[in-house]
């Protein structure tokens, strides 16, 4: 894979995440290459969303650190932290669009807060982002008036407003029908190809993983860490680990069969 040769943009070092006494992932280390579509996968409750929350600085990890473009987000404060936050955008599982604002206002918000662009410039950039995700006809709609897939696309547009180099997506295809989900995959692929963005995607939707992922890591609840890393197709066909094969081949768990 070309990803091996890529320069790392995110470096996760011996990261332990969990809540209080409960450790979900113990001392995980991995790297995400620049321009890569990197997928974190694993069964429900294995800590993949918590891992992502630690990577974006929302939940402090129990130990370890995360370097984003060389800067440690886990221990950064004030202006330093702000600087790191500007490097990435996040799309949350539910979209997390601001319900009291139209789509255009949602996308405009980060631009208004962070840039000194004139009014016309802000408006144009926001409209262009919405056009990129195919929502240019819905700029004046409120989030609640849109379908789940549209809300997620709008959330991607908002996350991209300031042209970050990394986009974190938390379960982008959760709750979407296969066609909408596949549209979203195409959007991610085209943004990755055309804009060179790096994607970190948390998901467990197999079709989506095979469609977009350059490289995956797989987490497991019992192992409390990474049990596989690499190209999803190769893992599916050659992994020695029965859990990994089971996951990729959608086999039922053997625990109570």
């Amino acid at each position: 894979m070309p990803s091996q040769a890529r320069e790392p943009i995110i470096r996760v070092e011996r990261l332990t995440v969990g809540y209080g006494e409960m450790v979900l992932i113990k001392e995980a280390s991995f790297e995400v290459g620049r321009g890569e579509i990197f997928v974190i996968l694993g069964g429900s409750g294995c800590g993949k969303s918590t891992l992502m929350k630690s990577m974006i600085g929302l939940t402090p990890p129990l130990a370890g650190r995360v370097l984003i473009d060389g800067a440690d987000i886990t221990h950064a404060h004030g202006d330093e932290r702000h600087g790191i936050l500007r490097k990435f955008g996040v799309m949350y599982q539910l979209g997390a669009l601001f319900g009291s604002m139209t789509l255009l206002e949602n996308v405009r918000l980060p631009l208004e807060e962070y840039t000194d662009l004139p009014e016309a410039g802000i408006d144009l950039v926001a409209r262009m982002k919405l056009k990129l995700v195919g929502l240019d006809a819905f700029t004046e709609h409120m989030p609640a008036e849109l379908s789940g897939g549209m809300q997620k696309r709008a959330a991607i547009a908002r996350a991209m407003a300031l042209d970050p180099s990394i986009l974190f997506l938390d379960e982008p295809s959760a709750g979407l029908d296969p066609i909408t989900s596949s549209d979203l995959d195409q959007l991610i692929l085209s943004l990755s190809r055309n804009l060179g963005m790096t994607f970190v995607v948390v998901t467990h939707e197999l079709p989506s993983i095979f469609a977009i992922a350059d490289r995956v890591i797989m987490l497991d609840k019992r192992a409390k860490g990474i049990i596989a890393e690499g190209d999803p197709e190769i893992l599916r066909d050659t992994s020695e680990n029965p859990l990994v094969r089971q996951f990729f081949n959608r086999e039922p768990s053997t625990a109570n069969a």
Binding site: K53, I56, G57, L58, R81, H82, L85, R86, F88, G89, V90, Y92, Q93, L94, A96, L97, F98, G99, L109, P110, E113, Y114, A155, R158, N256
Partner: protein, 378 residues
């Protein structure tokens, strides 16, 4: 010995027979569903209890749902190795075999959470209280620094949002504030005029209503109404945003939720509460005047007494309180909203906490003000 338990309406029966002493055959027939099993459960256990070895003849069970499986499972578990189920149809047997007794501990084996001792419970409550206070003080600091930042950089404040919030919390609250304070004035005047008339002192009702409305009731009633109306609204709004991950989205955008959401609301509260208080004072006094007309005291005389006894410092001291009340209501509403955990019930919980905490703080602070004014001879 042969007995039959039958429940005709449910179409399930249980019979048992002792072939040898200690060896019993139980025959289950019919439809084992939640309704019929409920009736059979104690009978089946009573039948299994005295026997050493039990054979359950299950070939005549026509239907068996989750409740039926649970009954068979529970009987087998009650005497491990001694209960044999024979002839259960393969489709039901396949379901039953999915559950291993080891994975379902018997109810008696379930350990109840140990009851903490009195001392431990008290300690835990204090720790929780201390944690809560720590959060409130930290929030106070954050909100304070955000307000100072806003005062230094007025352009950083989202004035459009603040105005909108002020409109909803202020203008929209006018009817209810007017109604309550009008009735307050009316009732106080009426209740005090009756005893005062016995001494021919109804002329002094204006003094009483004026002082109590301006100093206490105007600010207090307005604050309590606002706590119920806008404090609850702030908590619910921010709580829902928290549940929908909108707060997380703001944080990862590098936008401080306190600066972004709390400052606008606190500013709105600070401006709106005193204005509403002035309005409540006026309407309350008018309410008193209306009552006094029925006691044949002219409005002009009434207002002369209001102005003669209560002075500007009474009015201003009420107004000063209302500014603090506004800060408290908005601040507590926002804090409780931001502290919301996950789920719809958590939003309701935060709203309740916001209203209760705000009303308690209003009353406590009102008492403190009374003390301070007394010491300052105001």
């Amino acid at each position: 010995m042969r007995r039959v338990h039958r429940n005709d309406t449910m179409h399930a029966t249980l019979t048992f027979q002792d072939l040898r002493p200690g060896e019993r055959t139980i025959t289950l027939r019919g439809r084992l569903d939640a309704t019929s099993v409920a009736a059979l459960w104690p009978q089946a256990h009573a039948a299994v209890e005295p026997a050493r070895v039990v054979n359950i003849e299950a070939s005549q069970i026509d239907y068996c749902d989750g409740a039926g499986l649970a009954l068979l499972f529970d009987l087998r578990r009650s005497k491990p190795g001694a209960v044999h189920i024979n002839g259960l149809r393969p489709e039901f047997n396949g379901l039953l075999e999915q559950f291993e007794p080891a994975t379902f501990p018997a109810p008696s084996a379930k350990t109840l959470p140990a009851r903490a001792g009195f001392v431990a419970e008290v300690g835990r409550s204090f720790a929780r209280l201390a944690e809560d206070w720590k959060l409130q003080i930290a929030f106070l600091g954050e909100a304070g620094s955000a307000l100072i930042f806003a005062a230094r950089n007025p352009r950083s404040v989202r004035w459009k949002d603040a105005l909108l919030i002020a409109e909803r919390a202020g203008v929209d609250a006018l009817p209810i504030v007017a109604l309550i304070s009008f009735l307050m004035g009316l009732i106080i005047a009426f209740q005090s005029a009756i005893p005062l008339r016995q001494y021919g002192g109804e002329i002094y009702v204006g003094d009483l209503v004026g002082l109590s409305m301006l100093r206490e009731l105007g600010p207090l009633m307005t604050a309590i109404l606002l706590a119920g109306r806008s404090g609850a609204a702030f908590a619910a709004e921010l709580g829902t945003m928290k549940v929908n991950e909108e707060i997380s989205a703001l944080t990862t955008m590098g936008l401080d939720p306190v600066r972004f959401l709390v400052v606008t609301r606190v500013l709105a509260g600070l401006v709106v509460t005193p204005i509403l208080t002035v309005f409540a004072d006026m309407v309350g006094l008018i309410g008193g005047a209306v009552t006094m007309l029925t006691f044949e005291i002219p409005t002009r005389t009434y207002f002369t007494h209001v102005g003669g006894f209560a002075n500007v410092s009474d009015f201003l001291s009420g107004l000063a309180k209302s500014v603090v009340f506004g800060l408290l209501i908005a601040g507590i509403g926002c804090l409780k909203g931001l502290q919301t955990r996950s789920g719809a019930a958590a939003v309701g919980d935060s709203t309740t906490r916001a209203v209760v905490a705000a009303i308690i703080m209003i009353v406590v602070v009102d008492g403190l003000f009374a003390l301070i004014y007394y010491m300052l001879n105001l």
